[in-house]
Assembly symmetry: C2
Homo-oligomer: 214 residues x 2
């Protein structure tokens, strides 16, 4: 794979290096998503990028390190968009709508990331317990506070905020993690944009109504 000449390259080595690393990470995310950590042969990733195994190991010294980097990328991308608090809007309805729509968007745009994450959690989250504790949970707690505030202000029904988030997380991520099953049920080779839109509308409607947000 020859890289395009870049006239304004000031540090070509570092530039091409990051490019190579990115393509490796992308391929790795894909393969790890489908086969899980153990099911993935680093050779399969190398083939996909068009590198030899040894050469790929030059960029990432081990399978474990590569996997960690993939996981890291996924999590960072996620956490950014995953706060209810940070949604646009000044009222429960708008914010919740944006939140749900955002989560479905992630399932649509980054299904592989979601699958890697799912694999990790199912197998007991050995590698990211700490990450979850220090990053996800604090953010969630803030979101929970917001929900409680809305409840106390009578802007929604008094429901358990934690289980509400479990519901939203699972029902949105299922369009990534379980896409195979959904495609089978809907009899489509691949989910299309309209399917995700439909899912969004459905979930938004049901959850808003179900929680009494108006």
């Amino acid at each position: 794979m020859t890289k395009a000449l870049d006239p304004k390259n000031k540090k070509p080595k570092s530039r091409s290096r990051t490019a190579t690393e990115s393509s490796i990470l992308a391929a790795a995310e894909d393969v790890f998503a489908r086969f899980g950590y153990h099911g993935t042969a680093i050779n399969a990733i190398a083939d996909k990028v068009g590198l030899s195994k040894q050469n790929m190991l030059y960029y990432f010294p081990s399978k474990e390190v590569l996997y960690q980097r993939v996981l890291e990328n996924v999590l960072n991308q996620w956490l950014e968009k995953m706060a209810l608090l940070e949604q646009e809007g000044d009222n429960p309805k708008t914010m919740m709508t944006n939140y749900i729509r955002g989560k479905i968007d992630i399932s649509r745009v980054h299904p592989n990331g979601s699958k890697v994450f799912a694999n990790e959690i199912i197998s007991g989250a050995p590698r990211l317990r700490d990450y979850l504790k220090t990053n996800l949970i604090p953010q969630l707690e803030a979101d929970v506070q917001l929900i409680k505030q809305w409840i106390s202000e009578g802007r929604m029904d008094p429901i358990d905020p934690y289980h509400l988030f479990f519901l939203i997380w699972s029902s949105t991520q299922t369009y990534a993690d379980f896409s195979t099953q959904i495609e089978l049920v809907l009899d489509k080779p691949k989910l299309e944009e309209q399917d995700y839109d439909k899912a969004s509308e459905f979930l938004i409607h049901l959850i808003l109504k179900g929680t009494g947000i108006h």
Copy 2:
């Protein structure tokens, strides 16, 4: 769920043999759930049962066969209880309530089965596409018809039945598949019965209200 013996069985299996096979299957379900197909070493299963690897292979000739049997067991157990149509009750509210509660029960009693299934779907369901097509989907279609009927009778809101099932499946199975994450959030070493009860009540309330079932 007829336990009819295979016609091609010349002799019924001995009591001790079936007992051994059962304990192997149980251990296998456990290990496959945690590590996935590729991540599981048959030695780990054998150790757990207290057999040598070779001896275990005497009962199940290969890892693949053993895995298939585990999957088979899980699916059969599931399908039995998974029809909305077969729930007790003569009205939408009761039937839907029992359905959701039943699904949460499965997550509580058979979390490993759920995880094995989840692993399989995430990795593209290579081994059970056919099973889903011939077993799950027909049952689902019948359930979808029932929902449509309820809608046409004005007993619930006009919503998309398919996405409703996706929501119920995902939000109930998450208490098995993602239990690690949930335990972390709820700050408990292990989910207790009351947690599942709470989840049931939450989901039942939200889904009934959200779909306009009364």
